[in-house]
Amino acid sequence: MSEELALFAIDYATKLGAQYSEARVHRIEEFEVISRNGIIVGSAKDISNGVGIRVLVDGALGFSSTNILTKESIAKAVETAYARAKILARFMKKPIVFASSKLGRASYSVEEKKRFQDVSLEEKLGTHSELWRLTSSSIREAHVSILTLTYTESIEEKIVVNSDGAYVRSRIPRILVTYNIVVSHPQKGTIQRFEEHGASGGFEWFERWRLEEKLVEDVKTYEKILLTGAEPPKEEIPVVVGSEIVGIIAHESCGHPSEADRILGREAAQAGKSFIKPSMLGYRIGNEYATVVDDPTIPGSFGFFLYDDEGVPARPKYLYREGVINEFLHNRWTAYVFNVESNGSSRAMNYASEPIIRMSNTYLKAGDHSFEELLEGIKLGVYIKSYMEWNIDDERWSQRYVGLEAYLIENGELTKFVRNPVLELTTKAFYSSIDAVGKELRFYTGFCGKGEPSQGVPVWFGGPDVRVKKIKLGVG
């Protein structure tokens, strides 16, 4: 990789007069195969490769990127970042300053147990037709009208250097499988499910996911929901919220509002502000079960990294701890504003993206209940295992999750399928009404969107199943 170009960039920016400069050589190589109903539609190869440069000039921040990797082009990129930051500095009311930080001088790599190049293309292609064969033949009354499947393998390589002395080199391979299933019935309509499975590592993950069993079971379930699913009870009832939904809740209503740049208004016109105000550390948002962690250092995770894109060492962050707002996600700028140390949360999607505060792997801490214990004692309730539709307002307060696979609980047992139950509640209501937490922590895959231009970065979100005290469910 073009290490000398990165070093040249920061030296040149310093010579021009930048108070801070940073260069990131960033390459992502992807190979993708897309199929529809078992037949390969096409293959794609995508290489993103270039340098992203940031400079601080008179308190204004400039970013510039180029994929023309010559000294001349890099010099031009540095000059434009410098010059344009300088002309905008006149509008700065509060000059941007980066907090001093412990910075990495390190190199790390995620090693695949089964490297992509060691698995034949025939095997990768064959999984598409095999998964279609198994799922399409697994149900009789309804039918699988669509199974689109995308297999993606990628390798991300980076060198991050800055004028404060960081030098971090990394290599992270990732695997991702996404699919869309439509199960149809002439009278009952359709049911649809998108799902993603992703991890850092190699092809070993594909084997671990056992999709050939999972998809068959899922499709059988979707057929039953379509044929027999009934409306949820109308009265207030206890709800067991499945780990997949707990995970997205942790991401949306704890991770996002804890981003310090959002709290300071930097994303106000895009993803919005936060219900958390700068003075709210220590504020009670839930009960003792509400502990949410963001941890980029989980081995094998989709959101894995050991140093962020400012060169700061990564670590687990306890965002809510036992119901209390405990820590924000920081980069070096917000760390300066809040007079703390950066906790290494700055990420960029690719070379053409500025590093901004992001989550990594965000989850609600597990408790001590088995699934059966969560159901125990519920006379009438609902268990919502998975979801399709969800959203949350731009201050991360009012949110909605529409269940896909959901069951009626009667006398402590799952009895019938429930169709489209809607959980629509506030952040505080959710974290305050948990009354029991499962012991099994599970993770789910996603791409988190933020920034302008919007950047999608790989994350896991997760949690255990939890039981929520009485709530009135809606109908989707």
Partner: protein, 444 residues
């Protein structure tokens, strides 16, 4: 790797043919973008991108490969093409295969305004306009962005197509805050239109100051005026669903509808407009070298056209509509036909309803059924007996696209050019009055 786009696209085609591919299309795109992002009424960052992307469409024995590269060198480019030749024999024939079309003549549709390029070095002047205009109202702060882009693209194909095209664009949006009030608006153009920017800033600021002291309302069914920001967002989803690829992949409400069937209120007409001098995603030719043309997607309430490239057209036994995407056909720009009402006339037609000026986070439970919800944000107003009564707190629209499309009752005569985070395809949209929309909110 510094390159001349036109010559390079032709060389790429020759090279890939020599390596053994049957058909090749090469699209080389050079972009120069500058964006000033604003938060708390000051610049948050200024970003600049210089990018050259090399995109190849390759077929061999009816197997399809698509490549997007940013190679470090010509050698790396050669290596990638050679790798694809090696795997080409192992992939099965694509059911989506259709031969690349032979076009007699490609006509570029250039929309270049030199002022866009000039303003890249003085973007601070545009920032100043946005800050000054918005702060004429009594507001606390604004956030948003202004972006200037210059794009040059060259296409060459093994069926002898060769053309270049150049365009410029300006996109901007601003969100203003005043106590608990907020307002957001957007503007887009192929030119630097300072009046358009100023008007946008004033609209956002006015909505912010008018939406202070909000109150809660009960969920239920309301008649709702959707602003061009909101309707633009929903129509973006609907037009992406009109891509034949979405229909084939199971992500479209049009899976259950045939061309010619009624899908919306008779007063609704939506067009794909690649030949629009005012909207920034115009194009004279698509990625297969087919000449583009403006076309109805929905006209007088009837589904008129799915968007095709040659592959989806082959599967559905029809003709390409000049909307390639090599794999996925897509809309270029969207124009919704205006109605004949003023905004005030629309308000006067509401007994009990809402005006929703902005939304975000639209998600679907089921793309085939069109079950969705989206969050109304910024200025929302309660209307009773034809009069605006008071601003209200955030609510959610939770309904079905097919129902919403059929319940459209009035369209404004004015159109607005919208392009922002939640409206990715540049869209000319009116205000729209929709009857009986389902509004929800959190229960605890």
């Amino acid at each position: 790797m510094e390159i001349h786009t036109s010559e390079f696209s032709i060389k790429l085609v020759e090279k890939a043919l020599r390596e053994g591919f049957d058909e090749v299309a090469a699209l080389v795109v050079k972009t120069d973008n500058v964006m000033a992002k604003i938060a708390n009424s000051e610049p948050a960052v200024i970003q600049h991108w210089i990018t050259t992307s090399i995109n190849l469409y390759l077929t061999k024995d009816k197997r399809i490969f698509v490549v997007s590269l940013e190679p470090r060198s010509l050698e790396e480019l050669d290596k990638s093409v050679k790798e694809l030749v090696q795997i080409s024999g192992k992939v099965v024939e694509s059911p989506f295969y259709a031969p690349l079309p032979k076009e007699e003549k490609i006509e570029p549709f250039n929309t270049v305004d030199k002022s866009v390029i000039e303003y890249m070095n003085k973007i601070d002047q545009l920032v100043e306009i946005l800050l000054e205009a918005s702060h004429r109202e009594r507001i606390d702060s604004v956030a948003g962005m202004v972006e200037l882009s210059h794009v040059e693209k060259a296409l060459a194909t093994s069926t002898s197509a060769s053309a270049t095209e150049e365009k410029t664009m300006l996109t901007s949006y601003l969100r203003a805050f005043a106590d608990d009030g907020s307002g957001q608006w957007s503007f887009t153009s192929t030119k630097v239109d300072t009046k358009g920017l100023e008007s946008m800033a004033l609209t956002a600021a006015r909505f912010a100051s008018e939406s202070k002291s909000r109150v809660d309302i009960e969920p239920g069914y309301y008649d709702v005026i959707l602003s061009p920001m909101v309707f633009g967002n929903l129509v973006n989803y609907i037009c992406r669903m009109a891509s034949a690829f979405s229909v084939l992949m199971g992500t479209s409400i049009f899976m259950k509808k045939a061309v010619g069937e009624e899908v919306a209120s008779k007063i609704l007409s939506i067009y794909d407009t690649p030949r629009d001098h005012e909207l920034p995603n115009s194009a004279g030719f698509d990625d297969e070298g087919v000449k583009t043309y403006n076309k109805p997607i929905i006209e007088n309430g009837l589904l008129k056209t799915l968007l095709h490239n040659t592959k989806t057209a082959f599967i559905m036994k029809t003709s390409t509509t000049g909307n390639a995407g090599w794999i996925m056909p897509h809309p270029w720009n969207i124009r919704i036909s205006p109605g004949d009402s003023t905004f005030e006339e629309m308000v006067s037609e509401i007994k009990r309803g809402l005006i929703i000026t902005n939304n975000w986070y639209t998600r679907l439970q089921n793309y085939v059924e069109g079950e969705f919800s989206t969050i109304a944000r910024d200025a929302i107003f309660l209307v009773e007996n034809g009069r605006i009564i008071k601003p209200v707190n955030r609510v959610r629209i939770a309904d079905k696209f097919p129902v919403l499309l059929k319940n459209i009752d009035l369209l404004s005569k004015d159109l607005f050019d919208i392009h922002w985070w939640e409206v990715g395809i540049p869209t000319k949209s009116p205000y729209v009055l929709v009857r009986n929309v389902r509004i929800t909110k959190h229960v605890v």
